[in-house]
């Protein structure tokens, strides 16, 4: 009877140590619903008890119901026949169970039947579900569609859509990508037009749409005829009715349970969500940033599963007269995996906290505006949270998805030849992990997204603060290491800036982002190690490794390694 919440000591530790006091108070509007709804919390402790209980239920369903079905879901996959998509049996059963447990509307406001949870808790649930079956996360995680509607739609639209999202009757999809608009969404062509009464309709094609067979779709469409850029795009909601023809679903390497659809919209009736022309600039950016956080949660869930498999196998497999777990080379690999997972889980939940801050501060700012009582202090807090999140969202997505690939790779390596076979689940995890650093923006795009802030040293205040802080015992040595990484980063950055060579800077961005993020993660780990003896191991290995890598990165940049790209035509024959 594994419970994927209570059996995960590190996730439990995060749950217990994260200080959500301010967030929960805002999320619960100072606990003002307690008299109106029996499930609304009375205070912070009450809310945390709620979250714990619901995560326990999630962990129970994930461990005992979803995980045992993951292999058959992968084998069977979502099926496309006669224009219809059918989920694998295990997917249907799991969705049914999650709906009955009322877990499909975790972040939908309570008045629409949702649980009204902060993002951080929802992301913990997402990690737990992803560990059980990565492909289930692609449907579970689409609760973000409901959240986006809750955030930007008008009252009538919210009433129309949200209650059915909350019960799990509706699943969603975000229809953004087109054959010629992938990473470059400004190029979206799908046409939205109005009839004489002002009703909207959609016409055109979308591709690679996760859960495109969902009941409600949020579509990025060109409402301004003749426009070419992002300012001509709006976001519309429509039902997945018969006017949408599903042309095919993709045959993918992994996440087989999640159907990836090509959709043809044939004058599909739709409703404008929010304001015209802000489709990409405001709403889709909001949705995509959330989706990136979701994929980070998926990445960590897959990593956790891969680590568990490796550990179990290493303890059971005997060679040379002992379990391979006892071979230093193997235990060293396992430690690397564990340190990676714990370090990035720390980064991830820190990013989630900033996401919650940003969203709830923003709501407060808007409330103050409506009440004509400006709140400059909250305004500043919102701006700061937004600034930090602008760095942390792409950095987490980049680091966690890459790490998910590395950890599943190493886990398969520990399994040896057996791991390459279908009998063990590691080959599935390995395939499932592969998409995480591709979709919702490739790692290369995440680096571009983070680079601006990194070059502007956006987290400098935090680094300065940490450098002034007193750490216990040997941790002070690690602080010195982090200071050294910072110097290496600054030297590298100066070098790159002085070159004034845009392509060199683009290529070096990866090294710069790597160095910069390792300082941030390093200090988060030192903070944990300061309170928890065991975490010293995690901090030590992470920081020493980061320092070695930073030295190499700095040398790479200064050695002009990348200047041969101008000769690419001669090299790439």
């Amino acid at each position: 009877m594994p419970n994927f919440f209570t059996d995960n000591h590190d996730l439990l530790n995060k749950f217990e140590t994260l200080d959500l006091r301010e967030i929960v108070a805002l999320c619960e509007n100072q606990y003002s619903q307690a008299d109106e709804f029996p499930d609304a919390p009375h205070n912070y402790e009450d809310a945390m008890e709620n979250y714990r209980k619901i995560l326990e239920i999630t962990g129970d369903i994930a461990g005992n119901y979803i995980a045992p079905r993951a292999a058959s879901v992968d084998e069977e996959g979502a099926v496309f026949q006669d224009g219809k998509v059918t989920y694998a049996k295990g997917t249907r059963e799991a969705l049914d169970m999650l709906s009955k447990a009322e877990l499909m509307g975790m972040i939908i406001p309570r008045e629409y039947g949702g649980l009204n949870f902060p993002n951080t808790i929802y992301m913990m649930a997402t990690e737990i579900i992803s560990r059980a079956d990565a492909s289930m996360m692609n449907i579970f995680g689409l609760q973000d569609i409901g959240k986006t509607i809750a955030q930007f739609a008008n009252a009538t639209q919210k009433q129309e859509f949200l209650p059915d999202f909350a019960t799990g009757k509706y699943t969603g999809a975000m229809a953004l990508t087109e054959p010629d608009a992938g990473s470059d969404l400004q190029a979206v062509k799908l046409h939205a037009y109005q009839d004489e009464k002002g009703n909207w309709f959609l016409r055109g094609v979308k591709r690679f749409i996760t859960n495109g067979n969902g009941e409600v779709l949020l579509v990025l469409a060109r409402t301004e005829a003749g426009s070419k850029d992002a300012r001509g795009l709006s976001m519309l909601a429509c039902y997945g009715d018969e006017t949408i023809k599903i042309r095919r679903i993709e045959h993918k390497l992994g996440i087989h349970g999640s159907p990836t659809c090509e959709l043809q919209f044939n004058d599909t009736p739709a409703q404008l969500i929010g304001e015209r022309r802000f489709g990409l600039l405001k709403y889709v950016i909001y949705l995509m940033n959330r989706a990136r956080v979701g994929v980070s949660a998926q990445s960590i869930g897959i990593m956790q599963a891969a680590y568990e498999e490796a550990l179990k196998y290493a303890k059971a497999r005997e060679q040379f007269g002992k379990a391979i777990y006892n071979l230093p080379v193997i235990s060293n690999m396992l430690i690397d995996m564990k340190v990676t997972i714990e370090a990035y889980r720390t980064l991830f939940y820190n990013a989630c906290l900033w996401l919650d801050r940003k969203e709830f501060y923003e709501l407060e700012v808007e409330k103050a505006k409506l009440a004509k009582k400006p709140n400059p202090e909250m305004n500043e807090k919102f701006k700061e949270a937004n600034r930090v999140l602008t760095v942390l969202t792409p950095i987490s997505k980049y680091l966690l998805s890459e790490a998910s690939n590395k950890v599943t790779y190493d886990s398969m390596q520990i399994h040896g030849g057996t791991g390459y076979m279908k009998e063990f689940s590691i080959e599935r995890l390995y395939r499932d992990a592969r998409i995480t650093n591709i979709y919702e923006g490739t790692s290369q795009m995440q680096i571009v997204g983070a680079a601006g802030s990194v070059i502007n040293d956006a987290l400098a205040n935090y680094f300065n603060m940490w450098e002034m802080k007193q750490y216990k015992g040997t941790l002070t040595n690690l602080v010195e290491s982090l200071k050294e990484i910072r110097v290496l980063f600054e030297e590298s950055l100066r070098y790159v800036k002085e070159k004034k060579d845009v392509s060199y800077q683009d290529i070096a961005s990866k090294d710069l982002v790597d160095m910069y993020s390792s300082i941030y993660v390093g200090y988060l780990l030192l903070d944990e190690a300061n309170e928890d003896q065991r975490k010293i191991f995690i901090a030590r290995r992470y920081v020493l490794d980061a320092l070695a890598k930073a030295r190499k990165a700095q040398e790479t940049i200064k050695s002009e390694l990348y200047s041969d790209v101008i000769h690419s035509e001669s090299i790439l024959l």
């Binding site: 029996p38 499930d39 609304a40 919390p41 008890e49 709620n50 209980k53 619901i54 239920i57 129970d60 369903i61 169970m97 009955k100 447990a101 009322e102 877990l103 975790m106 649980l115």
Partner: protein, 296 residues
């Protein structure tokens, strides 16, 4: 037409997760060393009742007889969707066998009243007797159908049930009210519902409220019961006095069953014999099996 159901549930030791020190030297179970869980077949019984509520409407009431800590499973009944829950608890109920238990349960059911159906699991995993359901039906003078797999229909004051029998199934019809015991694969119990968990996590029985008053002299039990009742968080608690029971029929005094001795039986073979695949061989085998009362 709606139907009201009462569901008999029991908290049992988790016999699937037995560790050391579970058996005392005298052969009785050391319950403190065993995690307590919701008897699975009773969860299936609750699922049956909830499905009837989903289809026809009506009320589902869960009741358990047990020690104060059995309130855990009553909260779990509320999490799954039960409208009401009763704890039937009294020190004088301790040591009850199936006869005493079914006496107390039947009296409690009479007091609660207003039911069309009573559901219970086929048996509990601790005693494995499968007697409490049938005995309760007998004491209430209502029909019973055991080993139910499926409710085929419920109409015109009659329930039609498919029940498992050796080698197959049979379909029985019974007038209402009736008592039905269900087997474990009859239905998948629904999960706890998130919003109900949050709403009912602080639901408390009389004993739990009494505990609160012990640690805080400013609290009075009647006040607390009222307060919890108003908030819909009081798990109604029935004691022996409240049920006006005959003490001689309750607990250890009302239980003719006495455990003489518990021993661990290990079956082992002491040898084997070859039987030739001939007519004579086969008839010799059959004779021997009949002689040992394995056949016939």
């Amino acid at each position: 037409m709606s139907y009201n159901s009462i569901v008999l549930v029991k908290q049992v030791p988790d016999t699937a997760n037995i560790s050391g020190q579970v058996m005392k030297d005298d052969g009785t179970v050391n319950r403190a060393k065993l995690p307590a869980i919701f008897n699975f077949e009773d969860r299936v019984a609750l699922e049956f009742a909830l499905q009837i509520k989903d289809r026809f409407g009506g009320k589902v009431t869960a009741i358990t007889m047990g020690p104060p800590r059995a309130s855990d499973i009553l909260r779990e009944c509320l999490y799954m969707g039960a409208d009401d829950a009763y704890l039937i608890s009294d020190r004088k109920f301790a040591g009850a066998d199936t006869l005493a238990t079914s006496y107390v349960l039947s009296e409690a059911i009479k007091k609660i009243g207003n039911y069309d159906l009573i559901f219970g699991g086929r048996q509990a995993i601790d005693g494995d007797t499968a007697q409490v359901g049938p005995q309760t039906a007998e004491k209430l003078h209502i029909p019973q159908i055991t080993y139910a797999q499926e409710i085929i229909s419920l109409e015109n004051g009659k329930v039609r049930i498919r029940r498992k029998i050796e080698g197959g199934y049979e379909i029985l019809e019974s007038p209402l009210p009736a008592l039905i015991t269900v087997i474990k694969d009859a239905a998948d119990p629904r999960p706890f519902k998130a919003r109900r968990v949050m709403a009912y996590k602080n639901a408390k029985t009389l004993m739990e409220l009494e505990k609160l008053t012990e640690s805080n002299s400013l609290l009075y039990i009647d006040q607390l019961v009222n307060e919890y009742t108003t908030k819909n968080l009081y798990i109604r608690t029935l004691t022996m006095d409240e049920l006006q029971l005959d003490a001689a029929r309750c607990g250890v005094h009302g239980s003719p069953t006495k455990v003489h001795k518990v021993e661990s039986v290990v079956l082992s073979s002491s040898g084997h014999q070859a039987i030739p695949p001939t007519k004579e061989g086969m008839s010799k085998l059959i004779d021997e099996l009949m002689h040992d009362h394995i056949l016939g």
